[in-house]
């Protein structure tokens, strides 16, 4: 369990990192390293070059951004988890962190690295999609914004190009009133077997908007639109909960592995949809 040989570059600034990325098409960015280093030790990945961004100053920020929040590339999970600003403006993310990894992993791991890694059973992509977050990608060629829904493309696959670095995550202000996150994993802190992140807006007892986002049951976090449609247009009553749960289970095509089979994942999605919607609706009151 030792990595294959690689070159190590330490970036002193974002520009430094971008320069190195442009010059080394076979390079990977090293942020918290909580997934990358383990995969290298297993020789599942053998990057020829690592660009370490950990010494770049001032990119671990969590700042106000209009009525939303801007999170720097190197913000550690535990800083995000414990941020009062996030708790106020994106409580769904705070709630999700109750299920994410373990303390020591969160001390090193970064939100940005986690999103770029795009593990199909990771929690944070679901939150990004549910809240409509925007990801800022920068390269020597310039900067572009990608919405979370367009960022996650497949297993370990994102819209980030090889020469780009994710420099900032922008969470919008709360556009909906209700939110809830729930996950099933075999053990607390494990990668998820199934995740649902839900946001709702209810006006005059009528569900006006809903996002039901699943993770762990496909190649990447994705909205379950049939479940959302089942919720919108009326009160969140038992009939709507049942319909949404059934629609959610029908909308996923999960895989089987040693952690759970597909049938279980489908049951889990139904249960989590029901539970998150109920909790999100209660928070709307």
């Amino acid at each position: 369990m030792k990595p294959a040989r690689f070159r190590y570059l330490r970036a002193a600034s974002v520009n430094d990192a971008l320069q190195a990325l442009a010059e080394n098409p076979d390079a990977q960015i090293l942020a918290g390293g909580q997934s990358l280093i383990a995969m290298m030790n297993l020789r599942l990945v053998k990057p020829a070059c690592l660009i370490d961004i950990n010494r770049i100053s001032n990119i671990g920020y969590i700042d106000e951004d209009g009525d939303g929040v801007a999170i720097g590339a190197l913000a550690r999970h535990n800083d995000v988890k414990h941020s009062p600003l996030i708790r106020e403006r994106c409580p769904l993310l705070t709630e999700a962190y109750e299920s994410i990894a373990h303390h020591t992993v969160r001390n090193r791991g970064t939100l940005g690295g986690n999103l770029c890694h795009a593990d199909p059973s990771s929690e944070t992509p679901a939150v990004m999609v549910a809240t409509g977050a925007t990801l800022m990608l920068q390269s020597l060629r310039g900067q572009r914004e990608v919405g979370a829904e367009d960022f996650f493309l497949g297993t370990y696959e994102t819209a980030r190009r090889q020469d780009e670095m994710l420099t900032e995550i922008r969470l919008p202000g709360r556009r909906t009133d209700g939110w809830a996150f729930a996950e099933i994993s075999n053990r607390h802190g494990d990668f998820a077997i199934a995740v649902i992140a839900t946001t709702l807006r209810i006006e005059d007892g009528r569900c006006e908007a809903a996002r039901v986002v699943a993770s762990g049951v496909g190649e990447h976090a994705a909205r379950l639109e049939p479940a959302e449609e089942a919720l919108i247009g009326g009160p969140i009553d038992d009939a709507r909960l049942d319909a949404a749960a059934a629609a959610a289970a029908g909308a996923v095509d999960p895989h089987s592995d040693s952690h759970a089979d597909a049938a279980y994942r489908r049951d889990a999605i139904a249960a989590l949809t029901r539970r998150t919607v109920r909790r999100a609706a209660a928070r709307c009151d």
Binding site: P3, R187, H188, G189, A263, Y264
Partner: protein
């Protein structure tokens, strides 16, 4: 002599007493100060000058012929000292030790054929581990795949290319035998009811943070190996490693290192030290081989029992248990290191704490394309506990008798001990009613029954399980060979030795001839010697012998250590005490019979102030022999060694009507977990957990409670999460700890309420029993019972482990579908 054998006289010298100074105290662990600050020296902490590092290329196939292997590119990589194939190793090394008869040949590096994923195909020694692993990537192997044998029941009928060891015949059955103890057929004929179950116990294994490792060196001048290794049976059978290495036993010194959290996984490690030694001799430098996690999970010595039971329990309508019949198919993996010793072990307590008149065990040990079995907490008896407890629960349900009441009705009663069970093993003592009563008190059963009823009204599923389990301790060697048709090795002794020295200043030194393997051997030794010599444990230093110095010692395993080292120290301290009194008698001109040792000094009974401290006497013993009168037997110094034999063991009956007494120091436990099952998700949450153990006289309640609590979480792992899971191709899908799920504190009960009952053994010193296998012996059946109780309204039956959410949800889904 009866049908079940005879019971020898007790050789106990020290009776259990109420006025003990150190035994029974929750003394802080002697080991802790250095270990907790990271100052313990483990195998991987050892660095020798010029030391090379080994890595192993492992088979990606479950079953294949090695057509060709080319190490030339690896050999050429700068920094590589040696790249060795199986053929190279076979030139300098014989097969690995085995207790199987006839033997199952196992090479340290596979030669012509690989038999499981992860089996060593080549080994590299290089200047560092990175280069060694790079070199492994450069080795080219051509395989010709053979049919993988994965399902143990299919292995019963394998032939041809699917046979792993054709030299043993055209079959994958390693051993198949039926043993019958008592009038089984008559008892079944007399039964009103027979409970039948197919029970599946999953393959798991010890998961030490510290994997197995060795640093070997070869002194070319002396023709002698030194192997520093975290092994534990080194003084008992370490010489077997020498024969594998083709040197005389005195040309090999095994030096034990601290061994982290073994739970059996380092009981007699054979592959790692042999591999390090073979490479060290080849490269002329010390070689370190430290398993990494995948080395360990795919190719360790100690995957554990992996059994299918077809079990039948015969009983009368009134609830009287009569007889137990089991057909067992045990998936041993590719090799048989300990033969089928795990089934010797299981015969020790297969009837549980119950009066059952007869037993039949029909065993097929099959060979499959998986890692070999070895030792792990329970060594096969934990499975027998699960089986009998599931059957008793099923019987109670079938008869409409309360599960607890049926147990009480069939318990062996306190006045029936020592008690011989049908297999011949003896239960030395016990009080099962008392343990059950104490547990019920701690568990608040009535309170939980009320909460359960309330919860059911709300559609919540709470369940309470009760398991009353045996916890045998102190094995004797017969368990390793009693099943063999031709015994092969037929050892009868399994002693443990100790050396004790008092230096001229009165400080005590104890040399243990067993290693530290994660438990508290130093604490136990210090407490017992302090008790024996009436000295302060702080004045005692504990060290470990190597094989050059070592006395015959079986080592820790089978919850032996506390009982055996206590016996050995009582023996050695007795010699020292005798000498102290004799010297004191000379120096104080008193009669030995008038002297007594107390508070660290020899006193003349009834005469105040007539005393000499141990320090004074030790000084005289070491340097002033000539100041004493002529006494031919009195020599200078103050030291003793003592090899303590197994306290009570007998040999199997030649006609196999019984297997003799081989695991007699019988602890007992009762576990009562309360769980809530989320029927939508299959998740299990512990609401309460009570466990009471009876391990005889407690030496250190604090460390014993650690075994109980840690063992219980261990049991939760077996019941709910842990499995070495092989797919149809024989790939181990749970080789990493991200997939092999060890429970954490989050999956454990908030507290495990622990209680004790002390029924001292009449056979061991002070009445001590072993308790090292702790909660894992009783947790799984109790948890299964609790889950079944929770899901009673749905009619779910639990007969297979583990039960992670997905598997439990599948059972619930099926039950719901049946009901609908």
């Amino acid at each position: 002599m009866t049908e079940r054998g005879h019971i020898p006289e007790s050789r106990q010298r020290e009776k259990p007493r109420a006025d003990l100074q150190w035994i029974g105290k929750s003394m802080k662990r002697v080991e802790d100060p250095r270990l907790l600050v990271g100052k313990g020296i483990y195998a991987d902490d050892i660095n020798e000058p010029e030391m090379a590092h080994a890595a192993v290329l492992r088979s990606p196939h479950a079953h294949a012929r090695i057509v060709s292997i080319d190490v030339s590119k690896a050999q050429e990589l700068p920094g590589v000292l040696c790249a060795m194939t199986g053929a190279d190793a076979a030139k300098v090394c014989d097969p690995l030790p085995t207790w199987a008869s006839p033997p199952v040949l196992q090479a340290v590096i596979a030669d012509d054929r690989v038999r499981h994923v992860g089996e060593a195909v080549a080994a590299v020694a290089a200047v560092d581990r990175y280069i060694a692993e790079d070199a492994c990537d450069l080795i080219e192997v051509e395989y010709e795949p053979l049919p993988p044998v994965v399902d143990p029941e299919e292995a019963l009928t394998s032939t041809g290319d699917a046979v792993l060891h054709p030299e043993r015949g055209d079959t994958n059955i390693g051993l198949e035998r039926k043993l019958t103890f008592g009038p089984v057929e008559e008892d079944f004929a007399a039964a009103d009811l027979v409970i039948e179950r197919r029970i599946r116990w999953p393959r798991s294994g010890g998961q030490p943070l510290e994997t197995v490792g060795a640093v070997a060196s070869f002194d070319d001048g002396a023709g002698r190996f030194t192997i520093q290794c975290n092994t534990s049976m080194y003084n008992y059978c370490g010489w077997m490693i020498a024969s594998t290495l083709r040197v005389a036993p005195h040309k090999l010194n095994i030096v034990p290192t601290l061994a982290g959290g073994s739970f059996g996984s380092k009981m007699f490690v054979h592959k790692v030290p042999v591999l390090a030694a073979v490479l060290a001799r080849a490269v002329g430098r010390p070689v370190k081989f430290m398993e990494d996690r995948i080395d360990n999970t795919t190719s360790c010595d100690n995957h554990a029992s992996d059994r299918v039971y077809y079990a039948k329990l015969a009983l009368k309508r009134d609830g009287t248990l009569l007889s137990l019949k089991t057909r067992i198919i045990d998936d041993y993996g590719a090799y048989l290191q300990f033969g089928v010793g795990q089934h010797g072990n299981a015969l020790s307590q297969c009837v549980g704490p119950y009066r059952i008149n007869s037993v039949e065990v029909d065993l097929a040990a099959v060979l499959t394309n998986k890692c070999q079995q070895g030792a792990y907490r329970g060594f096969g008896s934990e499975v027998a506990n699960f089986v009998i407890e599931r059957l008793v629960d099923a019987a109670a349900d079938e008869l409409g008798i309360d599960r607890i009441a049926l147990r009480r009705q069939n318990f062996i009663q306190p006045d029936q001990f020592p008690y011989l069970i049908p297999t011949g093993n003896m239960y030395d003592s016990g009080n099962y009613q008392a343990v059950l009563d104490e547990t019920l008190k701690l568990a608040d059963l009535e309170g939980w029954r009320a909460k359960q009823a309330e919860a059911r009204k709300e559609g919540r599923y709470i369940g309470i399980g009760v398991a009353t389990c045996q916890e045998r301790s102190v094995f004797s060697a017969t368990e390793f060979w009693m099943w063999n048709l031709e015994p092969g090795v037929e050892w009868t002794s399994s002693p443990d030795g100790v050396s004790v020295k008092i230096d001229p200043t009165g400080k005590a030194f104890v040399t243990l001839h067993s290693p530290f393997w994660g438990n508290s051997p130093e604490t136990v030794a210090a407490q017992v010697l302090a008790e024996q010599l009436t000295i302060d444990p702080a004045d005692i230093e504990i060290t470990y012998s190597d094989t050059d110095q070592g006395l015959n010692s079986t080592g820790p395993g089978g919850s032996r250590f506390t009982v055996m080292v206590t016996g050995a120290i009582v023996g050695a301290a007795g010699k020292i005490r005798e000498k102290l009194l004799r010297i004191a008698a000379h120096l104080m001109e008193a009669d030995v019979r008038d002297l007594t040792l107390q508070d660290g000094a020899v006193h003349v009974k009834g005469v105040l102030d007539m005393k000499m401290s141990i320090a004074e006497l030790a000084d005289k013993a070491h340097y002033y022999r000539l100041s004493m009168p002529e006494d031919l037997d009195l020599t200078s110094g103050l030291d003793a060694t003592y090899v303590y034999d197994h306290p009570v063991t007998t040999l199997p009956d030649p006609d196999e009507r019984h297997m003799g007494i081989f695991y007699p120091i019988m602890g007992h436990s009762c576990h009562i977990p309360v769980v809530e099952v989320d029927v939508e998700t299959g998740q299990v949450h512990f609401l309460h957990y009570a466990a009471v153990h009876d391990c005889g006289t407690m030496v250190n309640p604090m460390t014993l409670e650690g075994h109980i609590r840690g063992g219980t979480v261990n049991g939760i792992g077996t019941a709910l999460f842990e499995e070495f899971s092989y797919d149809e191709a024989g790939q181990l899908t749970t080789a990493l700890w991200t997939d092999y799920l060890i429970p954490t504190i989050k999956e454990s009960p908030a507290d495990i309420v622990v209680g004790h009952v002390e029924t001292p053994s009449p056979f061991t010193e002070y009445g001590v029993k072993g308790g090292g296998e702790g909660g894992r012996m009783g947790g799984p059946p109790a948890i299964a019972a609790a889950i079944e109780d929770a899901l009673k309204p749905l009619g779910v039956t639990i007969d297979s482990l583990p039960l992670p959410p997905s598997k439990l949800r599948a059972l619930i889904r099926d039950a719901q579908a049946r009901a609908a």
